[in-house]
Every structure is written in structure tokens, then in C-alpha cells.
Symmetry: C2
Subunit: 478 residues, 2 copies
């Protein structure tokens, strides 16, 4: 079905065999003796070179062969004498499926800014950079499914539309079929949500965790991999209104098992991408080097592949929040008052603190555990001291928190107390509480923002550039 | 990490080795000489039998071992003398992680109706039926990813929130952060969507196809696998408000390639489930037999595995819509006026017509092609005769349409005409139209409703029972 991909063709031994190429023109170069067409079909970062003789095709045809045009080429695969490729295709037949008027087509063979490309997100997958990013994204997604499947996890589709707002993880999008212009109202004049599609207020999920736990208390090991939403009005390079989350939940896992899993998981999927996306990562490494050329040496990142190897090859440093605070209190930037935010037991670590620990002090990924209960979620298991909870955050260089997780509170009374403490109506989460009444068990889980992972692995600088069609304030185009 | 799964333990040779079991009690049986506990951890439909001697543990402990309680058991794996299992565990240590008060726990060891279980969707994954369904669902989802990855497709995450309403595939859910009680209004008194999160009206996607095509015109072969939404007020056994769709899109595929792919794809993923979910499917087959016992023989389904083999082993019948209409016009039910709906060229086939073709006439899956343009979507490629389009529907026994697809209209002028014809403002889909202006190519794709596939493979009767937390009118619980 369909033509052989250029990726496959490039690996074949050239024996003059007949081949068909279908793809888009990246560049055309005409010399006295030949016309060279670089064709790409998105299967690989590499183009295949197709060669015609001058006069072999009508000038009107050759004129249509411009950057972005789509071609079908029949020819023979031969060894290439030119530099930069081992094979090329000697063209015998050439059909232009679709032209791309150079006056109008925005993707000309020159450097385009990422900002500009964001405005033409419908075309940017045709560029080298976005082709590479999307292929790496695919490889990472596949690695996630393969990893969990291999380990006996079940993929659980938790709901996207939800009436529960228990997570308190931020602002939510409302989902409705009511007529906003004239919504139905009850006798008190309030919006009558009984008339709404679900008979109550409904929102887009901010996390599948609570439902994921329901699955884990039946199937032992589950994971989610689906879209989640935050209606936060933040225009940063690290936030999206719509993003994909991976959330494994495991019965019978305690905090240490959870850490072991998180570390093994993230190393495995990054390792998978390194093995399966060599060419794309080499390209992205070069792209990053180019981009950082203007920066002073000390502000440049590690070469991309070096950074990835470093994560995959070294054990993550594990320490408690309390130990981390001690390190920060004894640190040079703290003593020299170089930190912007104050340091002390009880604070929510800010980005500068996390970066100091990861990039300066330990110089490797760090797992921080046992945070103060006040700064963590209600569902995290209380430690014996009653002050800290069995939370864990995995911190990565350059990116900060990439994974957040915890052992969950499995004790019904303690969980109920926490629910009330933070002002959730227990009746809203009756089903969540019931898992602690019926056959409760120690269990754990974590969440990984998929785009953060793609950002880290591709070395891109803005999260809007690692998802095909980013959603952020004032933007839902395409 | 974590304990060995019961699925793995059941496959071990019993050599008296020390093992740890963690799981939930399905049943407990006490005899004079022994206490038998059937434990399940959701990794398999099968329980493992654990055996204690009377008096070995305090009566207060044994009383807590009731259906639904969660246990940790240490013991040795030995050959079982009892019928029904080859190994069992001789208990040396027993800890009750969590009790399940028999007076309150709803899942007692007796038959529960599917309707009742739907109301306790947070607990139903702990039943044999839903455990099996969710494991099969997982296997099918994994098979989907593996299939496309093997074939060189890239997984593309198309947006969930979208401002485009081009599909016209039905009622949509609105997504908003406006205050419904007091929405901002412009000078004309209309809702001021400039104030909404995205600066315009936004909805939940009904299909990722249009964006999928953008990916295919860059990467050649992509697929989506994500949630889609319909705000239709339909309470049937075949519709959900939130469901998962798989939508491959392929550059350079024409209608025949599209059919070949659809057939190969659906056969491969069903075959994967048959190979990897033998025990669950055997259980579900028995469940279906039980359920249909009260029906007259002629109304019963084929045994589940027979039905699946039949689909996997036989070529699908391929014919045009026009040929299908001829068959229907010459059919006995038509001549005897047994069809409820009239038959004639131009009609949208109803379920009774599709079922006649699949179940009575051809007795196998059918692919119908080249439907009248009037009853199909605007983006389908017009045939030469100008009357029909290159659509294809794959029809399955019992389930009707499981896949709908087409070759896409790649001609800019024809597509624009169709867009206008059905009343879409071309400016709303400028980005979609541009793919036909810049490097257009023949291309095709299709959509498969994932829950329809799970329904077919599990033999369940209601689509609400093949997704963990179904969303339908007046229901968004959990």
C-alpha cells in the first residue's frame, strides 16, 4: 500500500532498479549538465536526490518544480557521485501533483523564525525542524506505550469531560451546550444546569489521576495518556492550555517503587528515541548549536545528545525536601543573597532553587521527596511525622520538574480529613473515597507532562513548538 | 518494582518456592481442613488459590477476609490437588491491607446487572466482565499503535479544542471560560467572545481529520488516536458523547490503497487481541452465550471467537454503492416490503439495509464505495461522473459501519466549490484549503470509532460498557 518511503529507499543498494518517488520538493538546482531535485516525503530528515538531464522534460514542467511542489518521479536508483548522498534517482518520468507558487508559498528555502512558523502551523510540519520534532514526538509516544505494555500496565482512557473538580490544579474550561446568550435559569435566577447536556456543570479534565486510581485498585497497574487542560492565562514558553499527560498508577507500589519506576521509565523512553531517531536528534543538536551561537559560552546548553546520554547513563540523585533545603541554606548563592526568593523549610521551591540543585550542586537529575504537606495535594500519603507527605518530584536540567508523583493516602480517615481540610465537599468525591473503604491498599503514581519530555529531548525552547497545534490564550487556530 | 503479577505466578512451575501475593479477595471458602482464598490482582481473568489451615490465623483476621478485601500473602507455590488450577499458594503470612464490609460493599459474589454496574463504574473494573473488557481494550489500543508504527506512520496529536466547525458532523460542545451568569457583551449586546479564553468561540473536536490531513501533507503517513465529542442527545447502545477515534491519513494513497489499509489494519488488531487475550475472550464468549440463552436460536450471535476468526480469515467483499442498491432492490425483503425504509439510488443506507448486505447476502464484512456525493462529506474526492465520491464504508456484522473513509478531494477549485456549496465560510478553513494550493497530492484516510471496535471484539451489547467512564446525556459522574 502506498509508495516505498524515502527513508527506506535511501537504505537500498543502488543497482539501477526501477523506483517510484513521491514527495515534496525541498530545493531544485540547475547546472549545465543536470537538474537536481531534492525530494522529501517526511519519513526522514534526509532528502533523496533526483536527477534529470537538461531538455529531458518540457521547460513548462521544470518551471513547476519549485520548493513545496509535490511530485511523482519514476526512475532508477543509482550510486551517486555527488557529495552528501550515496544513492540518487535518475529520472525517467516526472509528474507534478501539485504546484507551490513561489510568489505565494510561505516556506521558501531560507531561515524562518519559529515565531513566523507558529503562525503557519498548518505548513510548518514540512520544515526540517518540525518534521524532526514530530518524528521524535511520535517515537517518544510509541516508547511510552511499549514501555508500559511490556511491564504489564493497562492503558486506561480516563474521562476528558468531568463533573469533578477535586484536583484543584488550576483554572478549568467549562463544557456546555447551553445557549450562552440566553441560558435557562431556575426560580432563583441562577443558571439551570439541569438543562445542560450532562445535567450539571462540567469541565475539561486537569488530570486523569483520580480515575486512574480507580483503575489501579482493580487492574493493579494502569497508565493514562491523554489530553489535559488548564485555563490559565499564562503566556510562557512552558505552558499550554491543552497538553498531553502520562499518568501511571500502581497498586502495591510504595514511594521507593514509584521512584524506581519513574527513573526507569524516563530513561527507557529517552533511550528509545536516541536509538530510533539518530538522524533527527543529530539535526536538532545542530539546530540548537546554531541557535545558541550568539550566547556566551557559559550560557550554552550541553550538546543535545550529550545531555540525553547523561540522563540515561547516570543514576538520579535522591534526597528529601528537608535535605535539599539544608543544601540551599548552605549554598553560595543563598549566602551571597543571589537567590531572588527566600529559602527556608516550608517554601515551595522556585525554579532558581531547583536549577541550583540540579545544574550546580548535583549536576544530574534529582528526585526530591517528602515535601511539607501544606504545599502538596490532599491525596498524598502523610508521613509518620505528620508534617511531610510521600511526594516525589523529578527535576531535570533546563526544564525543572518533569515528573510529579506520590504514594497516595490509602487510609480512609486520613484522606477524608484532608479532603475536608482543603474544602472539597466529600460528596463530590464519594467514589474516590470509596476506594479507601473497600479493599484499600498502598498505592502510588505519577504524572509526566508529555510536551515537557518532548521539549527536553528535542532541545526546543518553546513548548508551543513541540505540539502540532498549540492552544494558548487568544489562540485556537487550525 | 512491585510484586510479581498473578498472571506470571500462575505460569510458574510449583517448586515450593517463596512467593508474595497482593490482590483482592474474590471468594473465600472454609472447609474442615482448609480455608481457600481466591485472589485476583486484575492482571488476568484467573484467580490464584491461597490456602490456610484452620486455626493458623486468628479468627478476627480470617473474618476480615471477605469479597473485595485487599490482602498481602506470603507463602510457597505448590502443586494444587484441587480441580481448576495447577498451582496454589500455601499461606505462611497474611496481612489485610483493606477490608470490604460485606454489609456495604456492593460487589458481592453473585450476578450483577450491567445497568447496576454502570452506576458503580468506579468499582466495576473489579468484576470479571469489566476486567476482561478493559484488558482487551488495552490490547486493541496497543495493537493500533504497534500497527501504525510498524508501517511507518507517525502518531499526530490533533487539537481537542478547536475553533473550526468545518466537519459539520453533528452538535458540538462549547468550551469557554466566560461567566455564564454574566457573560461580557459587545456594543450590539451579543456575547463578546473576544473576552473568552481563545478570543473566539471554541468547541470540542468532532474529528481530527482536517488537521490530520495537514500532517499527511508533510509526513506522508500519520494517524490520530484521541478523544472526539458529539453533543447529540441520543440515548442508544451505540452512541457516546465522548469517544476515542483512530484516524489515519496518507498522502499518495488512492481509494484502493485506503481499502487495503483499512482491511489489513482491522484484521491485524483483531488478530492481535485474539492472540494476546485468549483467556479474556474465552470468558467473554461464555458471558455472551449465557446472556443469549433466553433468545431463540436464530437470534443468537455466532460464538465470539468464531465471529472474530471469520473477520480475520476472510477477504472483505468490496462493491460500489450503486451495486449495493441493485442487490437491495432485488432482495426478498425489498420485494416483500419487509424493509422499514425505502430503497433507491440516492438514499442513505439504513441499518437494516447494511445488515442485510453483511449478514444475509454476503455473510461477511463488506466495503461499500463510491456513494452519492449528496449524502457524503464535502472533502471527499469527486468521481469522474460528478455524481459519486470516492467514499468507503466498512460494514461489520452486528455493528454496521465500523470504518468510514474516503480519498480526499485534492483539487483546490473543486474543494472550494464544495465548501461553498455546503455553506462553510472559506475563510474559516483557509488553512485546510491552502494544502490544496501548495503541493497538493492524491491522499486518503479513514476513521474508526475505537469503542465500536471494542464492542465488536468483546461481544458486549452496550457501548457504555466498553469505555471506563462513559459520558452520555445527563451523565458525567466519576
Amino acid at each position: 500500500m502506498g509508495p516505498l518511503q524515502i527513508k527506506e529507499l535511501l537504505q537500498k543498494a543502488p543497482e539501477g532498479q526501477a523506483v517510484t518517488l513521491k514527495g515534496w520538493v525541498r530545493t531544485k538546482r540547475e547546472s549545465k549538465n543536470a537538474i537536481f531535485i531534492a525530494l522529501n516525503d517526511g519519513s526522514t530528515i534526509h532528502n533523496i536526490q533526483a536527477v534529470a538531464e537538461p531538455g529531458q522534460f518540457a521547460e513548462t514542467i521544470i518551471q513547476q518544480v519549485t520548493t513545496g511542489a509535490c511530485l511523482r518521479i519514476e526512475g532508477s536508483l543509482v550510486a551517486s557521485l555527488g557529495a552528501g548522498q550515496s544513492v540518487e534517482v535518475k529520472i525517467t518520468e516526472l509528474e507534478v501533483y501539485g504546484t507551490a507558487d513561489p510568489e505565494k508559498y510561505p516556506l521558501q528555502p531560507k531561515k524562518h523564525s519559529l515565531e513566523f512558523l507558529r503562525e503557519i502551523a498548518h505548513l510548518r510540519p514540512r520544515t526540517n525542524t518540525f518534521g524532526a520534532v514530530l518524528r521524535v514526538r511520535h517515537a517518544l509516544a510509541f516508547a511510552v506505550h511499549q514501555y508500559f505494555n511490556d511491564k504489564g500496565f493497562f492503558y486506561l482512557h480516563t474521562p476528558i469531560i468531568t463533573a469533578s473538580d477535586a484536583e484543584g490544579a488550576g483554572e478549568m474550561f467549562q463544557v456546555t451546550t447551553l445557549d450562552l446568550d440566553k441560558p435557562p435559569r431556575d426560580e432563583q435566577g441562577a443558571i439551570d444546569y439541569k438543562e445542560d447536556f450532562f445535567g450539571r456543570e462540567a469541565n475539561l479534565t486537569v488530570s486523569g489521576q483520580l480515575e486512574g486510581e480507580l483503575g489501579a485498585m482493580a487492574l493493579s497497574k494502569i497508565y493514562t495518556f491523554g489530553p489535559t487542560f488548564r485555563a490559565e492565562n499564562s503566556n510562557t514558553t512552558r505552558h499550554l492550555a491543552e497538553f498531553w499527560m502520562i499518568e501511571p498508577e500502581m497498586a502495591f507500589f510504595e514511594l521507593k517503587d514509584n521512584m524506581d519506576l519513574a527513573e526507569d521509565f524516563v530513561k527507557t523512553v529517552i533511550g528509545y528515541a536516541m536509538e530510533h531517531c539518530k538522524d533527527d536528534l543529530a539535526f536538532l543538536q545542530k539546530r540548537l548549536e546554531e541557535e545558541e551561537k550568539s550566547k556566551p559560552q557559559k550560557d550554552r546548553s550541553l550538546p543535545l545528545l550529550e545531555k540525553l546520554s547523561f540522563v540515561v547513563d547516570n543514576p538520579f540523585e535522591r534526597l528529601t525536601y528537608t535535605e535539599a533545603i539544608d543544601i540551599l541554606l548552605n549554598s553560595k548563592p543563598h549566602k551571597e543573597k543571589k537567590f531572588q526568593y527566600p529559602v527556608g523549610w516550608g517554601i515551595d521551591l522556585s525554579s532558581e532553587h531547583e536549577r541550583y540543585l540540579v545544574e550546580k550542586h548535583f549536576k544530574k537529575p534529582v528526585i526530591l521527596t517528602n515535601y511539607p504537606r501544606e504545599i502538596k495535594s490532599f491525596y498524598m500519603k502523610l508521613d509518620e511525622d505528620g508534617k511531610t507527605v510521600r511526594a516525589m518530584d523529578v527535576l531535570f536540567p533546563g526544564i525543572g520538574e518533569i515528573i510529579g508523583g506520590s504514594q497516595r493516602e490509602e487510609n480512609y480517615d486520613k484522606l477524608l480529613e484532608r479532603v475536608k481540610e482543603i474544602g472539597i465537599d466529600p460528596q463530590n468525591v464519594w467514589w474516590y473515597l470509596e476506594t479507601r473503604q473497600f479493599g484499600t491498599a498502598p498505592h502510588s503514581g505519577f504524572g509526566l507532562g508529555f510536551e515537557r519530555l518532548v521539549l527536553f529531548v528535542t532541545g526546543m525552547g518553546n513548548i508551543r513548538d513541540v505540539i502540532p497545534f498549540p492552544r494558548f490564550p487568544k489562540s485556537a487556530e487550525f
